[in-house]
Amino acid sequence: MHHALFHHGETLHLLPSGGLHWPARKLLCVSDLHLGKSERLARRGGALLPPYETQATLEKLDRDLEATKAEIVICLGDSFDDLAAVDGLENSARLWLARLMAGRDWTWITGNHDPGPIEIGGTHRAEVTLMPFTFRHIAMPDQKAEVSGHYHPKARLAGQSKPCFLADAARLILPAYGVYTGGLRAHDAALTALMAKDALAILTGPRVLAIPMPR
């Protein structure tokens, strides 16, 4: 069950998966997919992790697209673990992604891991504004209505740590959507400095639960 958030007069649905659904615009926004992470680690001579995270992440995305019937998709950056990871993508994953993108208005926001244009369709942007919101990878100071990712926030409730959204009046930070992604605790100084005192942490999982942001 999603959590409904009223933000600047708009209703936003925060999904159990960590995706953001904006029903009025038929828009789905996801952040930090980190596709191709296991391939990148292997390429660098490190461990050979189970090479299934791209498949698992795409399955998740497929389900959310199916459920929300979204027509506009914004990937908020760090969609690929690095630029070479795009070439390293299995053919099946490439086709799957193409199928998901077909017929949809799809925007790739650049992130710090994937800072340049990539050989995959869709629009490539540093940031996108759809009134009243601005979508970008890393939060900027002094914003009014900003949606961003990058930090992979997570928070602990009843003994369990889960990826979470962070929300205050001025901004919304999305959790990492990719399967192989670590997290940064919401009470880290980088996040507490960014978010207002009355910010909420909204935890992902079968039940999406809001708590005051841990500090």
Binding site: R43, L48, Q55, G183, L184, A190, P212
Partner: protein, 504 residues
Amino acid sequence: MTAGALRAVVCTGSLDLGIDWGDVDLVIQVGAPKNVKRLVQRIGRANHRYNAPSKALLVPANRFEVVECQAALDAVRAHTLDGEPRGPGPRDVLCQHFLATACAGPFDADQLYGEVITAGPYALLTKAEFDACLDFVATGGYALKAYDRWQRLKLTNGRWHLRDPRAAALIRQNLGTIIDIETLKVRLRNHGAPLGEIEESFAATLTPGDTFLIGGQVVRYEGLRDMTVEVSRTPGRDPKVAVFNGTKFATSTLLADRILDIFQAEAWPDLPAHTAWWLSRQREVSRLPDPHSLLLESFPHDGREHLVVYGFAGRNAQQTLGLLVTKQMESQGLAPLGFVATDYATLIWGLDPVTDPAPLFDLETLREGLETWLSGNAVMKRTFRATAIISGLIERSHQGRRKTGRQATFSTDILYDTLRRYDPDHLLLQITREEAMRGLIDFSRIEALLARVGPRIDLHRLPRVTPLAAPLFFEPRRIPVQGEGRDRLASAQAQALMEAAGLT
């Protein structure tokens, strides 16, 4: 230590065997010995000379352990020793051996196989098993052949070598088969002088202002910076005591049987008065466990329902029983929240009481449960983590290489879940299963227990905690059960936090 300059050495089980110091005057064994042979070995560290008697002082840490120490001493006097047969060599260690061998230079697989099977534990290793391990190290061994370009080991002119020779340094850094518990350095704020290390799990219990004892002084916890615990000196009293979890052994079947025999006595003149009193109180308010039935106690405490299962099957089997029984409870809608296991009993707490225990302990149902939960539980994940580190799938964190700020690491639980879902027959899952069945799961002792007690499962409903159950409430390593009960609590807690913050 060898020079004899130290007046005392405090250690875990690390100094049990193979140490030959002549001038240890006395061994002080804190806690129960768990195993008669081990106790004899430990006592033998004192006066390690053929013509001098060895002396030891046994210090049981609770009343259960008083009885166990007594049982162990009886067993030593009766010359009955316990011991488990040695199992086959673990295959994750073999995987690590391939990496280490490749670091030293290219190798021939057949030649290495010939060498490996000369080692006792690997004498029965088949060539197919050997090849599967080699394939895992080289390619990852995944059903999806994703790493053809990035193989870790490559075969050139019949010899295996590292694709990237620079990997050798990191592989060597990660050698070893003892999986450390993660520790954090402790240092004085502003001075930077390191005082020692504490385990991460202990550090997680600290909040700024807490005091604890380290390196002979009491310090105040100030905060965590760059993965270092910062403290300041404080002359405070009542510090917390840092906990170090050594290796945990399960009490042997021999000792457990002897403990149950002691319980059957009419009186206990050989035991200290407090322990004898404890046992007779238990007999008055409930009853004492015996070898012919399975005693269960159910009582409310602190707003939760509790169930105690006195199986005396050893820590690992009691833990498995906890996992299986809570799973059954979950499907019956009893909302279990967690459990803790000792060598003697399993304590389960939840939102609703158990009234009909027989279906929970049906051997067939338990066995079925073993098949299904085996894959999804915390014990398997813990075993998987060890296997993944030993086999070289993941690197342990090293001081100096840990990332600060945004974490680049993610839990092995995610890897485990991904493998289970997409590659259920993967070698690493086979090894994990094998290691878990042998070590942490110990299902054979549950089978033996249920065969012994048959239908005699005896549930006592009581108004409060019983004498025998009390020590269980002080046990660390509580295992949460993820399910309906926890979801109910999380919702309530989120609601309370929002209300407290005036945000509803």
